[in-house]
Symmetry: C2
Subunit: 253 residues, 2 copies
């Protein structure tokens, strides 16, 4: 086993709306000799994907409705910010202690529907999640293939809190060419002795590993993960949407 390796990509410039993000990644990787190869998984913090796609909302353009005004009073947030969160959500799971836990229109359950102000130079602009993160991943992958000739995996990530445990982990929001899950349930172990019960969330584990490779304050949105070649496929695969559990099937709630 060669193991896995995750390394932040240096030299990526500030990403702006309309930028060719795959092109910026390919150029930055080219400076670091040999950093991309067939089977490399390119993990990208969603924020730069959102910025390149102009998934941004100017607070000045937002008129908060009654529900947003009410929640803003309860949570101490800007009512326009709350309105953007509501616009991104199909369900408000919980509103308490200044935190809104939402189910986004993609089906992700996370704080503030993934709407974010951090690392945005202009604090009057909010960054929302990419419209269709799996489609973003597929398009970045195709463009990277065009530019590099390599079969890469693309993984778009965000930091989510979780039930039962403190802290956040990066998880997969969008995915292309990487298996979201590795299902060992019902298989036998290496000695043919006993059944293995594991159903590994590969893409989420890769996202968590990638996040460890960057300093939080150092603006390194892209991390290259090696050693996952066995999970990288010719076709784009089912995407990160395959990781979402339907509420009625959820035994952990």
């Amino acid at each position: 086993m060669p193991g896995i390796r995750a390394q932040a990509l240096a030299g990526l410039p500030e990403v702006r709306p309309g930028d060719d993000l795959a092109g910026l990644i390919a150029s930055a990787a080219d400076g670091d000799a040999g950093t991309l190869r067939d089977g490399t998984v390119v993990a990208i913090a969603h924020k730069v994907v959102s910025k390149s796609e102009a998934a941004l909302v100017a607070l000045a353009d937002v008129s908060p409705g009654a529900r947003a005004l009410e929640l803003a009073a309860d949570t101490g947030k800007d009512p326009r910010h709350v309105q953007v969160i509501l616009d991104e959500s199909v369900e408000l799971v919980r509103a308490e202690r200044g935190v809104l836990i939402c189910r986004t229109r993609h089906g992700f359950v996370c704080a503030n529907a993934g709407v974010d102000t951090s690392n945005v130079p202009d604090s009057d602009t909010l960054v929302v999640l990419p419209r269709d993160p799996d489609a973003s991943a597929r398009s970045l992958r195709a463009r990277l293939r065009e530019l590099t000739g390599l079969q890469l995996g693309v993984l778009i990530t965000d930091s989510f809190g979780r039930a039962w445990r403190h802290g956040q982990l990066d998880v997969a929001l969008g995915l292309a060419g990487v298996a979201p899950l590795d299902d060992w349930r019902g298989r036998e172990d290496s000695q043919g002795l006993v059944l293995v019960a594991t159903w590994l969330a590969v893409a989420d584990a890769a996202a968590a590993a990638a996040d460890l490779a960057r300093e939080k304050d150092s603006r390194e949105p892209v991390v290259l993960v090696e050693g996952l070649e066995r999970y990288v496929s010719e076709d784009d695969g089912p995407g990160a949407a395959a990781l979402l559990r339907a509420r009625e099937e959820d035994l952990f709630l």
Copy 2:
């Protein structure tokens, strides 16, 4: 940034009750030249810790009570197996479709209270979680220090399902000398511009990364993780117990 690296440790023998697990790890690592150094985090699948500590229950010794018989009928499990799960639990969170989601006496919420049959040669014996995984981690760390002279981190892991998302991720059950969490909430980013909202679950991310470095069927319970030196401390730290969120504080449920 040097990034992170995770590599499974080869050459560990089958672990048996009473074995000096730290000794087995130090010997196996010695064969692989230079695999351990100051700051290496030694991630250990809990099952070998449980085995070395004889945290095992023989089904023949178990008399199922009324509740176990009832749940066994509902879930199709061996009533003695269910009794062991109940003995390990302080709360049954959910019993449905053959799965028991439990809160263990340690406070972990997981399927079947972590009671496991897989990779046990004698299928009439169940493996339960270590009695006190943080204490196990501290003791393994002290023994590894004695044997190697190195300041290592020790991370004991298990694969847990989670709410909202499919699949399992390895998480930290026990921890010594590694920060469980890295709190960036309220700090400013590298340019002093905006607040960072991240509260990274370092030990769980390291557990997830370690799990990617082993093949599920290849009996590689120990993975060495490099690149986390900044989270490894002289003192043992608060342990993995610091990752547990009190139910009444949990907004994700």
